[in-house]
Amino acid sequence: MTRPSAHGTVFLEARLAQLRADGRRGLAPYITAGDGGLDTTLAVLRALDDAGADVVELGLPFSDPVADGPQLQAAAERSLALGTNLRDVAEVVRRLRSGDDDAPPSDLPIVVMTYANLLSRRGWGSAIGLLAAAGCDGVLVADLPLEEAVVLRIACAETGLAPLFLVAPTTGADRLAQLAAASRGFLYAIGRVGTTGVTTRFDEDTQDYLGRVAEAAGARAVGVGFGIAGPDDVSAALRHADLAIVGSALVEHLHRAVASAPHPSRAPALAARAATTFLEHLSEGLNP
């Protein structure tokens, strides 16, 4: 398998190091691959790149997403009804990287987010190899704790893809240090106890926790996700973190745009425009 050698752990970490060197903080939008069709996904990725997204989290949908709230579960169901699978997600990334008549090649960093069974079913090595060959940069598996991740980390080490891990407010100090050491690219901090899609209150306890995460991460970048919907949340989330991850709110916004399309062929363009305006809106939180 050939792979765009520029992408993977080294590329992702260099990008995030540059973000910090520039004294900036960034946005990491999450979208569910195949929601509204794969052409919509490609158009949205390009729009997010143009609008200045620093990393995109691309969700490979699973039938039973226990870590997600109702919005992302509904998006997964819509996407699966259209038959989206691992190969499709790899193909979208490959098209993004290669460029075509509509758009030039893009090097937007991409982290694939999914659940363990989709990778285990294909075989960890083969699944990770496919994503790496397509030009993905990292992978994050919502139901794969560090203790179960030996095989994933081996597959990532062999292909250069970054294995990312999550920390939660329930994670203790020792474990936090272990996860910070194991996570490549960035360390994903769950902002709140709960599933995705419920508003996070960035109160003093939350900020204390995010401060501890940043300290444990050291030179490693930190992304904060779960319940970030508007510029105020972005601003609060970035007090201790490098990246604000925005999922459910964006996915709902894009879905409304797709649903409003008078004809399915218009969906990609409408979703792309919606992605642009949403990201511009969120960007207000970057420079309060």
Binding site: F62, S63, D64, V66, A67, G69, P70, Q73, E77, L80, N85, L86, Y115, A116, N117, L118, L119, S120, R121, R122, A142, D143, L144, P145, E147, E148, V150, V151, R153, I154, E158, F165, L166, V167, A168, P169, T170, T171, G172, R175, L179, I190, V193, G194, T195, V198
Partner: protein, 613 residues
């Protein structure tokens, strides 16, 4: 045929004799090591190795791997030697280079000396070796000396490893708890004299290692594990530690025993079902879990877990339910012990088990009806897990079957094994051990509860899954072993009904309690090891089994339990003259609405089965 080393967790090394090798296999070893290094005290000549290998393969054609252990060998010589003795894998010790072994036709185990610099060697071998064997750094082969646990523990994070180094029956459990290896490998400490194994020590070693590995990882062979979102992982770790402590705590045990006895009605009887036996042509003993308070075995589990939750200071209990039996049992335990209770239930199940919805509400529980997905048990589990993720500190999730992330499969089985312990003692008192123990399998808690009582006896164990309208591909059913494949759902690695992409498939069963796409991981392991076998009964088989028990014994069984009876009706020829313990896991009152709709079918099925005159 190339067979992987997946599922290999206990290797007994240095065997020299076919009878001893057979004994090790019978005791439960996954792999047998034959040392082909001439100067080893446990060396075997190739011809003798071939004899050992042949008898092991004859006895266990699919499960046990024969490993050829070589020192300083070249790939070509090793390949010829492995072929000569019929080995399934090769273990490399001594001076070899990983790059020479790329593309070797058999799976490779690599011996790694545990010392501070070992990580580089392990990483170099990782692309070619499927398993590492962690041994003391002295000498090329088995050292018999213990390794540095701290270093070994780090190495186990980097690659799948078997821990070796002079492990014996007395210290293996503690070493596993500290190092958390994939598996263990032992040789010298299991010997009566160099080269001759002491069979008692081999059995004791495997008996100590197997549960220790299960506790360290929640692993049952290749199955189980803890595939939970990070928010829950620390909570599950705490739960695991609490359960390990409390299950040995005499005050906790006494309180639980009193609840199980005077509140729930244990022990439940073992009823010799004579009129049923006449029809089936075998001797049937019914384990009457249907007589337990709330009408099913579920209360054994919920009383234990709610009592545990109370000890942990939780104020709220979450649960999922399919048929409603687990929901009712949870609501009952919460009412008895004074905790708040919220039960998730799929909308389809809430409609077909209305009576149980009302029972839960009358007991003071809140029933959350789930409208997502297929709106059955799987979706109720999703909802309950989400509710737990939202409040992991204040709530405890009482999972209702021997499923989910570690420690649930072990903990639920621990709480349900009272069924098998009683049934064993009762059957002995009633004339002797049974030939078979039979139970229906949804998640599999009633079945594992029964099976655990007979695991070390010469008793055949049979689990009956829901065959729905027929377990062929494409038909609607919940027979995971008939057409499923290994996968990860709701926290554990087990057999799962899924499509080629790994998406979970819809299921169907007449009984809500069996209508679930995954099976408990301990069952997956019992099937893989050949200790239990799994079959299925269709919706119609279950109805016929229900009718039979109602008319011949005056007992209305739950449609779940009716699957076990339905299979026995179909398997009459095989069962003739044998003694069978059947777990009657629940009573059928909850199914009256459904039976009213299908009442007309019972007579037709009765005629067809010819079971009743």
């Amino acid at each position: 045929m190339k067979r992987s080393l997946r599922g290999v967790t206990i290797k007994v090394c240095g065997l020299t004799d076919p009878d001893e090798a057979l004994a090790a296999v019978k005791a439960g070893a996954d792999a047998i090591g034959l040392v082909l290094h001439p100067t080893s005290p446990r060396a075997v000549m190739p011809a003798q190795a071939r004899r050992v290998s042949d008898v092991v393969h004859a006895m266990s054609p699919s499960r046990v791997r024969v490993v050829a252990v070589v020192v300083d060998a070249e790939p070509r010589a090793a390949r010829e030697l492995a072929a000569q003795i019929g080995a399934d894998a090769i273990q490399l010790c001594g001076d070899q280079q990983p790059e020479d072994w790329v593309g070797f036709p058999l799976p490779i185990l690599r011996r790694i000396g545990v010392e501070p610099s070992a990580e580089a060697e392990l990483l170099a071998w990782r692309p070619v070796a499927a398993l590492m064997v962690l041994d003391h750094p002295s000498g090329p082969g088995g050292s018999g000396r213990p390794v540095d646990h701290a270093i070994a523990s780090r190495l186990c994070q980097r690659a799948p490893c078997l821990l070796a180094g002079g492990l014996g029956p007395d210290d293996v459990a503690a070493a596993i708890a500290r190092v958390r290896p994939r598996g263990v490998d032992a040789s010298s400490k299991l010997e009566a004299e160099p080269g001759r194994k002491h069979l008692g020590r081999v059995t004791a070693f495997i008996g100590a290692a197997r549960p220790a590995l299960a506790r360290a990882h929640g692993r049952f062979g290749a199955f189980g594990g803890c595939f939970a979102p990070e928010t829950l992982v620390p909570i599950l770790t705490e739960l695991d530690a609490a359960w390990r402590q409390l299950r040995e705590d005499s005050v906790f045990r006494a309180e639980l025993d009193q609840l199980l006895g005077d509140f729930a009605g244990r022990p439940t009887p073992l009823w010799p079902a004579r009129r049923l036996s006449e029809v089936l042509g075998c001797e049937v003993l019914l384990k009457r879990e249907d007589l337990l308070h709330t009408g099913a075995h579920k209360l054994n589990n919920t009383l234990g877990q709610v009592l545990l939750a109370k000890r942990l200071g939780k104020r709220r209990i979450l649960a999922e339910t399919g048929a409603g039996q687990h929901g009712v049992a949870t609501a009952t335990a919460c009412a008895q012990l004074g905790l708040e209770c919220v039960v998730s239930m799929g909308a389809v199940d809430a409609a077909r088990q209305r009576a149980n919805v009302l029972r839960m509400q009358l007991l003071g529980a809140r029933v959350e009806v789930v409208h997502a997905g297929q709106r059955t048990l799987k979706d109720a589990v999703n909802a309950a897990m989400r509710a737990w993720i939202a409040d992991p500190l204040g709530s405890h999730y009482v999972l209702g079957s021997a499923l989910g992330p570690h420690p649930f499969p072990s903990m639920v089985a621990d709480l349900q094994q009272v069924i098998g312990e009683e049934a064993r003692a009762q059957s002995l008192a009633a004339g002797g051990l049974p030939d078979l123990a039979v139970a229906c399998v949804g998640g599999g808690s009633n079945a594992i509860g029964l099976f655990r009582g007979f695991l070390t006896d010469d008793v055949e164990l049979v689990g009956v899954e829901a065959g729905g309208t027929g377990p062929e591909q494409g038909a609607e059913h919940a027979a995971r072993f008939a057409s499923g494949a290994p996968g990860i759902l709701h926290g554990c690695h087990t057999f799962l009904l899924q499509d080629d992409d790994g998406q979970v498939l819809p299921t169907h069963s007449i009984s809500a309690g069996l209508d679930y796409p995954a099976v408990g991981p301990e069952h997956a392991a019992l099937r893989a090891s050949g200790r239990a076998r799994y079959t299925w009964a269709t919706d119609e088989d279950a109805l016929a089994g229900f009718d039979l028990l109602a008319r011949r014994e005056g007992i209305l069984p739950a449609l779940e339990s009716s699957h076990a009876l339905g299979w026995m009706l179909r398997a009459r020829d095989e069962l003739r003259g044998r003694r069978v313990v059947v777990n009657l896991s629940g009573r059928g009152d909850k199914d009256l609405d459904l039976l009213q709709d299908r009442h007309g079918e019972l007579e037709r099925l009765r005629e067809r089965s010819g079971a009743l005159p």
